[in-house]
Amino acid sequence: MIELEGLTKRYGEKVAVNNLTFTVRPGIVTGFLGPNGAGKSTTMRMLLGLDNPTAGDVRIDGKRYAQLKDPLKYIGALLDAKAMHGGRSAFNHLLCLAQSNGIPRARVHEVLDTVGLTAVARKKAKGFSLGMGQRLGIAGALLGDPEILMFDEPVNGLDPEGIHWIRNLMKSLASQGRTVFVSSHLMSEMALTADHLVVIGQGRLLADMSMADFIRQNSRSYVRLRSPQRERLLDVLHQAGITVVEAGNGTLEVDGTGAERVGELAAQHQLVLHELSPQQASLEEAFMQLTAESVEYHAHADHQGPGDAAPGRAPSGGPPPGQRPGQGWGSGWQQPRKGD
């Protein structure tokens, strides 16, 4: 378990991390989310005792990091893929880490096997691709078989197979009862792996809630419709008191009504539907909305851009529920999502 209490880091005038208080619990994957420069890596470095906090405190199972006598058995961390000497072989890199914590040599072979680097164990780390470097970093994190695992942007630079592997690894580590704390700037990635979310922006805590709560609070679910008899469909839905939004490309979006009811209505009036699909608005969008506020707070003018207009979106019958008024650049993200 990791506990942060009023954690603050200041670099001169700039506040990188501002009064963060939250707890990372065992048995689940906790996603640590924020845009680039939000202070995620700084927070993680403070967790590991690499940076000294300006104020506040971090405790790992009740202890400060520097008080841990055998840190690799408490906490394994992947900070950045290339935090290693390029001239050293993968095996020796792990061996020197293992020796510093009194971990038996056999364990090095085990973790190399776990991450699938046994074949290149004797190769120098500088010849490794980003993905292999990432795997070696993860091997280092797993070395002490720790209760707590921390990954900073683990899927960066990985191919789809590697991403899939990391996702499953994190889930299985959490299911063994370990604390898994993983940072990312990709909401879509977190939606697939994390059970709990901590969102920061500009160093401040924006959200600390379960993934399900986050989805419920922040995402809009709607039904997408396509029909060759669009006008009649619009009439029918209007008569039934259902709010419809035209979403361009001849598609309609219905908020607040289930796909069943819309389908039944269409059948009743013998309307042909080419598409009737329940949709979840992108979580990426919800995340952008959440963090946009903290971004806007510091840099106004630039963010009133293309998002507000939302081309192709003509609301008929008031703004859809669940959509915030005056959203910033986040709303522009709906457009690319239309395809899926």
Partner: protein, 327 residues
Amino acid sequence: MTTPPTPQQPQAQPQQPQAPHTQAPQPQQAYAGAVAAPQGPPATAPAAPPAPAAPAPPSAWQQAMSNAYTSPIPVKRTNLGHALTSEWTKIKSVRSTVWTLSIFLILVIGIGLLAVANTQSDDYQDVPFTVPAFFGLMLGQICLITLGVLVTSSEYGTGMIRTTFTASPQRHRVLAAKILIFFTVAFVASAGSILLVGLMASGAHSGPEAGDIPWGGTVFKGALYVSLLGVLALAVGSMLRHSAGAITTMLGVVLVPAILPGFLGIWDSTQKLGEKMADYNAINSLAKIFQIDDFDSATGTSQLVLLIVLTAAAVVGAFALLEKRDV
């Protein structure tokens, strides 16, 4: 399946449908335990079960904590011994060590043997048999300086230092281990090579013309001097955290006091300073240790003491900065 008041889906997490009603939740299912917290039979005590809306009831975590993972690897308290084995693995597993030490040995032994081959027994009348090693050491000390700097600063350059300090948050222990390991390696390499050259010279030129000057002390002092120079470089590398900067600084420390006296001698006011520099610069110090300077009988002890003081000061500075700074 259940009565209405039963909190069926706390936080709408995906959960195993059978979990709330099985008698004992599986200990491995920490995830389900942490979220659903299926304690107590809900049918008998409808008011008791945790409120589904309340975020993270503490009881749920405590349960999760009891299910928390424990490693089968035995936990050992780490000590300096662990740090030493780790640093030994580090120093021997990089090319820079191999290169700098090979060049050092080639310079000291190679130049030494050339000198042995080109001297006669009567050349050793006033000087110890280890003198041929001195010429190689003048150049070879640069190799030890480079290695000393790289032992610390290469970790900062590559980012390895973050991994190192994550594994060993007791930073002073890491630096102490680095100094001990480096010093041992440097001392063994330099003492070994000086000794070898001395043995060659005494073997080849032990004629009656050669003076019987004891040379055991020169092996020790010479090796100590260049090894300390390396430790000074290591401390400078740890403070500057930049390989090129630290190597340049150390070259300045070695070369500037050897060059500057030529200028300082011009003015009366700086003449004294110039003389001191000429006496105590690294090259002249080595010359004194090898008793080449036959004007006085000093054997470089005061030069060695100065270097010890300087190195100690740099090491103290490195330790002081190490704990304070972010990495």
